[in-house]
C-alpha cells in the first residue's frame, strides 16, 4: 500500500462527486470544478507503474511540457471562442481528440511489447507473448479509440453542414459488418500472437481499418441524429481510456474512463427514448432518406392562416399565461436575447411566462437551456415537456419560435408519419398558437407539420429576431 494509491482513491471520489453535482443546476458548476480538481491532483502525483513519480523519474520532459502547452492553447482557444450554437461540434471535436490519444497510447504500448528492445546490440531471445489480460485491453483501446476519433471528425463535419445528408448505398450494412468481422478477426489473432514483425503489421492494418470503420459507421447517419452519435462516441472514448488504464495499470484512468463509458451509454439511451426510437434505428436506419415521400403523399387538411405582429402583441399583452416553445431556429436567428426582452416586458405586465423545453430541442439534449441561459433567462422559467404538457390547455398563447418537429401533432395523430410516437409538446392544445417561421419549408427531418394547419394556429412569417423586436415594441406601446 503506498500513498499514491491512497490519493488516487480520493481522486476517483472527486470524479464521482463531480458527475453527481453536475446533475443539479445549483451545484453543476461546482461539480465541474470538483472533477477538474481531481484531475489536477492526479496530474501532480502521476506515477509510473513501478511506483516512481513521473516528474522525478521520467524522461523527455521538454517534449511533455511543450505538448501539454500546445494542447492547453488549442483547448482554451476552442473553449472560449466557440459560439453556444456550435457547442455540439466542439464536444465532438474534443471527444475525437481524446479517442485519438487513447488509440495512440495503446498502440505505443502494444508495439513496445511486440518489439522487445535490443540490449547492448544483442537481440534478445523471443519473449513470451504478453498475457491476454494485457493484450486484450490494448487491442480494445486501439480499436475503440481510433473508431471514436474518425467517427467524431465525421460527426463534427456533418454538424458544420458538410455532407449532412445520410450517405447510403445498397449492401452498406453488409460491407460494414464485413469490415468489423475482419477487425475482430485480426484482434483475435493478435491476442495470441502479440510479438514479432507479423504482429506489428497486423496491428497497423487493424488500426487503419478501425479508422475507416469509424467513418463508414457515421456517414450513413443524418445530421439530425449526430447528438446521439456524439454521446455514443463519448462513452466509447471513456471505455477506451478505461482499457488503457488496464494496459498501463493506472486505477484512476480505469475509474474515470468507466464512469464516462457507463454514464455516456445511459445518456445515449435517454436521448433515443426522448425521440422514441431504438438506438439501433438511429445507427443503422438511415432515417429521413425515404420518410419525406410518405408524409407528402398523405397531405394535410386545412389552410394556413397568417397573422401580423401587432395583433400578436395584443394577444400576448392581454393573456394570463404564455408559453414559449423555442427551437434551434431561434438560436440560428440569434433571437434568444429578443425573446428574453419580450418575456421580461410581458412579466412586467403581470403575464405568467414560461418556456417549454423539449428534451431534444436544439442540436443536442439540453442545448436549448444553454442557449437561453446565455441570454440570461433564469433556469426556473424553463419547464420540461412532461411537466408542462398536462396544463397546456390552460395556456392562452403558445409562441413557437423556430421549433418544428417537436410540436408536430402528427407524432400523436398520423401513424404513417416517420415521427409517429415521438413525445411532443402539445402546442396545439392551447387557446391560440402562434408559429414564428421564416417560410413554409419543412423541418430538419423533412416532415410536414400538421400544427400549421390547425384552426387555433396563426403563422407569423419572417425572420424570428425582426419579428420579436416588432413584438417587443408593440407590447411596450399597448
Amino acid at each position: 500500500m503506498n500513498t499514491v494509491a491512497l490519493i488516487l482513491i480520493g481522486v476517483s471520489v472527486l470524479f464521482i462527486l463531480g458527475i453527481k453535482f453536475l446533475s443539479s443546476p445549483k451545484t453543476a458548476r461546482a461539480g465541474n470544478l470538483v472533477a477538474a480538481a481531481g484531475m489536477l491532483i492526479g496530474f501532480v502525483i502521476l506515477s509510473k507503474p513501478d511506483g516512481g513519480n513521473i516528474w522525478a523519474h521520467g524522461g523527455n520532459y521538454p517534449l511533455i511540457v511543450i505538448g501539454i502547452i500546445i494542447g492547453l492553447v488549442i483547448g482554451a482557444l476552442g473553449a472560449y471562442s466557440v459560439k453556444m450554437t456550435a457547442m455540439p461540434q466542439m464536444v465532438a471535436l474534443f471527444n475525437g481528440l481524446g479517442g485519438g490519444a487513447a488509440a495512440l497510447v495503446a498502440s505505443l504500448e502494444f508495439i513496445k511489447g511486440a518489439n522487445p528492445p535490443e540490449l547492448l546490440g544483442i537481440k534478445l531471445p523471443e519473449l513470451h507473448d504478453p498475457s491476454a489480460a494485457i493484450t486484450i485491453p490494448m487491442l480494445f483501446a486501439t480499436l475503440i479509440g481510433s473508431l471514436s476519433f474518425s467517427g467524431s471528425i465525421i460527426a463534427y463535419l456533418k454538424l458544420e453542414g458538410k455532407f449532412e445528408k445520410p450517405h447510403t448505398f445498397p449492401g452498406q450494412n453488409f460491407l460494414n459488418g464485413l469490415i468489423l468481422l475482419v477487425i475482430l478477426g485480426l484482434c483475435g489473432w493478435l491476442t495470441f500472437n502479440a510479438t514479432g514483425h507479423n504482429a506489428v503489421v497486423a496491428f497497423v492494418v487493424m488500426f487503419c481499418l478501425a479508422l475507416f470503420f469509424g467513418v463508414a459507421m457515421v456517414m450513413p447517419i443524418g445530421g439530425a441524429d449526430m447528438p446521439v452519435v456524439i454521446s455514443l462516441l463519448n462513452s466509447f472514448t471513456g471505455l477506451a481510456v478505461a482499457a488503457d488504464g488496464f494496459a498501463i495499470n493506472n486505477n484512476a484512468m480505469i475509474v474515470a474512463g468507466t464512469l464516462v463509458g457507463s454514464s455516456g451509454t445511459l445518456l445515449t439511451l435517454l436521448m433515443c427514448k426522448a425521440m422514441n426510437r431504438p438506438v439501433t434505428n438511429v445507427l443503422f436506419g438511415a432515417f429521413g432518406s425515404s420518410g419525406g415521400g410518405s408524409a407528402a403523399a398523405g397531405g394535410v387538411a386545412g389552410t394556413v392562416k397568417p397573422i401580423q405582429a401587432d395583433e400578436v402583441a395584443l394577444l400576448l399583452a392581454y393573456a394570463q399565461r404564455v408559453v414559449v416553445v423555442p427551437g434551434y431556429g431561434m438560436a440560428v436567428a440569434q433571437a434568444q436575447h429578443s425573446v428574453r426582452e419580450l418575456t421580461e416586458e410581458l412579466g412586467k405586465r403581470g403575464v405568467e411566462v414560461q418556456f417549454a423545453i423539449h428534451p431534444v430541442a436544439g442540436r443536442m439534449p439540453g442545448h436549448m437551456n444553454v442557449l437561453l441561459a446565455e441570454a440570461n433567462v433564469p433556469y426556473d422559467q424553463l419547464i420540461e415537456m412532461e411537466q408542462i404538457n398536462p396544463s397546456m390547455d390552460r395556456v392562452d398563447v403558445c409562441l413557437v419560435i423556430g421549433a418544428n418537429d417537436v410540436v408536430n401533432p402528427a407524432a400523436r395523430e398520423d401513424k404513417s408519419s416517420p415521427i409517429y410516437g415521438m413525445p411532443i409538446i402539445d402546442a396545439d392544445r392551447c387557446k391560440t398558437c402562434i408559429v414564428m417561421k421564416r417560410s413554409m419549408a419543412a423541418g430538419f427531418a423533412g416532415i410536414e407539420n400538421h400544427l400549421f394547419y390547425k384552426d387555433n394556429t396563426r403563422m407569423l412569417f419572417g425572420d424570428a429576431k425582426a419579428s420579436l423586436n416588432a413584438l417587443v415594441a408593440a407590447v411596450k406601446a399597448s
Binding site: I74, K112, I254, N376
Partner: protein, 100 residues
C-alpha cells in the same frame, strides 16, 4: 504468494473496480434533468481527458523517434481534451442562473 498469482490477484481486483464503476456511472446520472444533458456530456467528455496521463507515461518512456512523435501527438490531443473540456463546460455552466 508467487509473482504470477500476485499479478492475477491484482488483475481480478482491477476488474472488480471496473465492474463497480459501471454501476456507479449509471447511478449518479440516472436523475439528471434533460436541461443539463449538454453540460453533462461536455463534463464527462472532459473527464476522459485523463488519457493525458497515459500519453505522458508513454512519452516519458519513449526512446525511438516514432514513439516520441506518436507519444507527443497523444499528449497534445489529451491535453486539448482535458483543458478544453473543463473550460467549455465551465463557460456553459456559469450562465445557468436562478431568477433573482
Amino acid at each position: 504468494m508467487s509473482i504470477e498469482s500476485l499479478q492475477s490477484y491484482n488483475q481480478i481486483l482491477v476488474l472488480f473496480i471496473f465492474v463497480l464503476a459501471i454501476f456507479v456511472g449509471f447511478e449518479v446520472i440516472s436523475k439528471v434533468p434533460s436541461m443539463l444533458h449538454t453540460p453533462l456530456m461536455s463534463g464527462t467528455n472532459a473527464i476522459h481527458g485523463i488519457i493525458l496521463f497515459g500519453g505522458i507515461l508513454v512519452l516519458a518512456d519513449a526512446d525511438d523517434t516514432l514513439a516520441k512523435v506518436l507519444g507527443f501527438v497523444a499528449v497534445v490531443f489529451g491535453s486539448a481534451n482535458v483543458f478544453g473540456g473543463f473550460m467549455v463546460t465551465d463557460r456553459m455552466l456559469q450562465m445557468f442562473k436562478k431568477k433573482k
